[in-house]
Amino acid sequence: MMNFLPLTESVSLAHIVGLGVAVFAAGAFGFLVRRNLIVLLMCVELMLNGANIVLVAFSRAPGAVDPQVWVIFMFAVAAAEAGVGLALAVLIWRRLGTLDIDALKELKG
């Protein structure tokens, strides 16, 4: 196993956490502005990915292995989420003929 670290002084925890938070915020922005159901699911994956980057960043703190294990758990959760979400998207497509979330008005009171 190659030992790649330390990354020297110029890359600190703040950089990596900042990257993860930026990816999370980009996913949140996409979730607010996009209207295709499948693209919305992709934005959720992007947010999960940002959270994973932050977890890996904090696993570099001395003596913390646990966050890397949580990242591996998050992969399984994300896979289950994508499976069910895409099945729902396919069902909605088959029933309504569209994936535009503005067309989903059946739950409106």
């Binding site: 703040a14 209207r35 295709n36 994973n52 570099r60 703190a61 292995v65 758990f73």
Partner: protein, 167 residues
């Protein structure tokens, strides 16, 4: 490897992750969004390996970039992707409000985690081995691991029952 090269690799991969994220959010065709997300996920796995989380990096390629993205592209092809282009764009005010919300979220999360930055400015010297992580998964986190397998089973059953035409 020289520190300069490591830093260059870190900033290159970070730029790739951000560019892919921007493409996922901004591109119009869902298939292009999916390919952009795939690019992001691959760059992220490179970042994990660079940061010493090797197992997470390789699993990211296999599970995320492999299985989950294949599922996404399959769903896009099953549902026909061109209808997304007919949707009129959102009003500018709404876009600006969403952008301000995302920027606020970024500022809030950075502010909330800022007090940890002083504590661990330097990165830990040793990457953690696969054996250590396996010891944790099958030791301290064994109940959670078993629950997770139940969750995945429920996910499989739910996906099949939801998408099937006739039971």
């Amino acid at each position: 490897m020289k520190p300069f090269l490591l830093n260059a690799a870190f900033y290159l991969l970070s730029g790739a992750v951000l560019a892919g994220a921007a493409g996922t959010v901004l591109l119009r065709r869902p298939l292009y969004c999916a390919l952009s997300l795939l690019f992001t996920l691959l760059a992220t796995s490179g970042l994990y390996i660079l940061l010493g989380a090797e197992l997470a990096g390789y699993l990211q390629i296999i599970v995320y970039a492999g299985a989950v993205m294949a599922l996404f592209i399959l769903a896009i092809h099953m549902t026909g992707q061109d209808e997304a282009l007919k949707v009129p764009p959102l009003p500018r005010l709404l876009l600006m409000a969403a952008g301000a919300g995302a920027a606020g979220l970024f500022a809030l999360l950075m502010l909330a985690s800022a007090r940890f930055f002083i504590a661990f400015v330097k990165l830990a010297p040793e990457p953690y081995s696969v054996a250590e992580q396996a010891g944790l998964i099958f030791g301290r986190y064994a109940p959670q691991f078993e629950l997770l397998s139940l969750l995945v089973l429920a996910g499989i059953a739910g996906a099949v029952l939801t998408a099937k035409k006739k039971l």
